[in-house]
Amino acid sequence: MGKKLKKMKVKEEAKGLKGLGHSAKEFLYGMAGHDMTRFALKTRGSMEHLFILITMGDLLGIPILPPYYSLRLLPYVVPQISTWKRRMLREKDLTDALA
């Protein structure tokens, strides 16, 4: 409540995640950092989706957690997987989902 969110900074060095690209990273972090306050309270569902996006981003072709470890998180996001995929495919782009 009234707590300032830290802005998540994206490290400049590619450090090996060549497939990811700067803009995608910045987008993810920007989205996470800036808009959280605004929509967090009214759309907790979106945050679940955000979490899923970040941890299971391989469904969109963005490699994030090592596959071995992201698989470990699968049981926790099972209920959300079908709804999330439908939602991601329905939205025109990600920013719409968070506007």
Binding site: M1, K3, L5, M8, K11, K15, G16, L17, Y29, A32, M36, A40, L41, R44, M47, L50, F51, I54, T55, D58, L59, P63, I64, L65, P66, P67, Y68, Y69, S70, L71, R72, L73, L74, P75, Y76, V78, P79, I81, S82, K85
Partner: protein
């Protein structure tokens, strides 16, 4: 200084790695070092993190996927069967999902995700990465020798560790902030809150696993990393580049071992021109190596008359590596 001195001077460096381009002698030296340490009375495990491991070849025994196999007193070797590890893991995940949601059958979508994930190229490497954590924290052995994959993969392996650490740190703090907002919104049912705690715990667990591995590899006090080079131009150049990169990832290099040195005294005998020229060429590169790496060059090991396979040849390499002079 001779490599034997590194072990004597730094007895706490219990995690040993040999790195360098493929085919230069990493597996040979891993085996030889394991042999020497075992003969000294230490309990040693040499294990391979390469999906195409060659410890079975050099020890002339099939040790693949058989856990730690005793090759000779005190000397144990292990080749991790990544595929089996992954299959067992998949089944654990399935079982957890069945338990959590009271399902008899895996939903199709989930099942196909589980199978797709296992087929990813990085899955094998990250599975081995995880298996190694269990091995090295087991504390059953006095020494652990990582027979590392060829150079490129080793760097990927290390960069993986720091990247994932970074990402998990961010995801964890994101998750924690989400938790705060959930509480603020007061929309939380008890069940969901417990679930979030569990997810946080999982993320911390993953972070812990990754930190354990990378922590060891970058700890100068506990790790000795040896680079294997041969007296060839491209190898010297590549090794220089790699050394810079390793410094960037803060992997402490304990020294360089020069392998495949044709014995210089052969030049005094009646030898073919071809061989004489190779000896001369090597002499130049050996000087270059000494110039470039200075007193970090620990030992020179000769080219043997045959392949190094079997304990007898391994013993000879050990003698050359540890008993010989720089």
């Amino acid at each position: 200084m001779p490599i034997a001195e590194i072990f004597q001077k730094f007895p706490n460096r219990r995690y040993i790695e040999f790195g360098g381009k493929g085919g230069l002698g990493k597996t040979t030296f891993s085996a030889a070092t394991a042999y020497w340490l075992a003969k000294q009375g230490h309990k040693v495990l040499v294990f391979s993190v390469d999906p195409q491991a060659s410890l079975s070849d050099i020890f002339e025994r099939d040790i693949f996927g058989k856990g730690a196999v005793e090759i000779m007193p005190n000397l144990f070797a292990q080749e991790i069967d990544a595929d089996r590890h992954i299959h067992q893991y998949q089944e654990q995940i399935r079982q957890k999902i069945r338990d959590m949601y009271g399902l008899d059958k895996m939903p199709e979508e989930i099942e196909s995700y589980i199978q797709a994930a296992a087929a990813e190229p990085a899955m094998e490497e990250s599975a081995i990465f995880d298996a190694v954590v269990d091995i090295v924290v087991g504390a059953q052995f006095d020494y652990y020798i990582y027979d590392l994959v060829p150079l490129g993969h080793a760097l990927y392996y290390l960069s993986m560790a720091s990247i994932y650490d970074e990402w998990i740190g961010k995801v964890t703090s994101l998750r924690e902030e989400m938790q705060e907002y959930s509480q603020v919104a007061a929309l939380l049912e008890r069940k969901k809150k417990t679930e979030e705690d569990e997810i946080l715990a999982e993320l911390q667990y993953i972070k812990g696993r990754i930190n354990t591995s990378s922590g060891i590899l970058t700890d100068r006090e506990r790790t000795a990393f040896f680079f294997v080079v041969t007296p060839e131009e491209m190898i010297i150049l590549d090794t220089q580049k790699a050394a810079t990169l390793f410094a960037k990832y803060q992997v402490p290099i304990s020294g360089y071992i020069v392998n495949r040195v044709i014995p210089a005294e052969l030049a005094g005998e009646n030898i073919p021109e071809y061989l004489r020229r190779r000896i001369t060429m090597q002499a130049d590169y050996l000087k270059q190596i000494d110039r470039t790496f200075g007193d970090e060059v620990l030992t020179r090991v000769p080219e043997f008359e045959r392949d190094i396979t079997g304990l007898e040849m391994i013993g000879r390499v050990a003698e050359s590596l540890f008993g010989g002079q720089a």
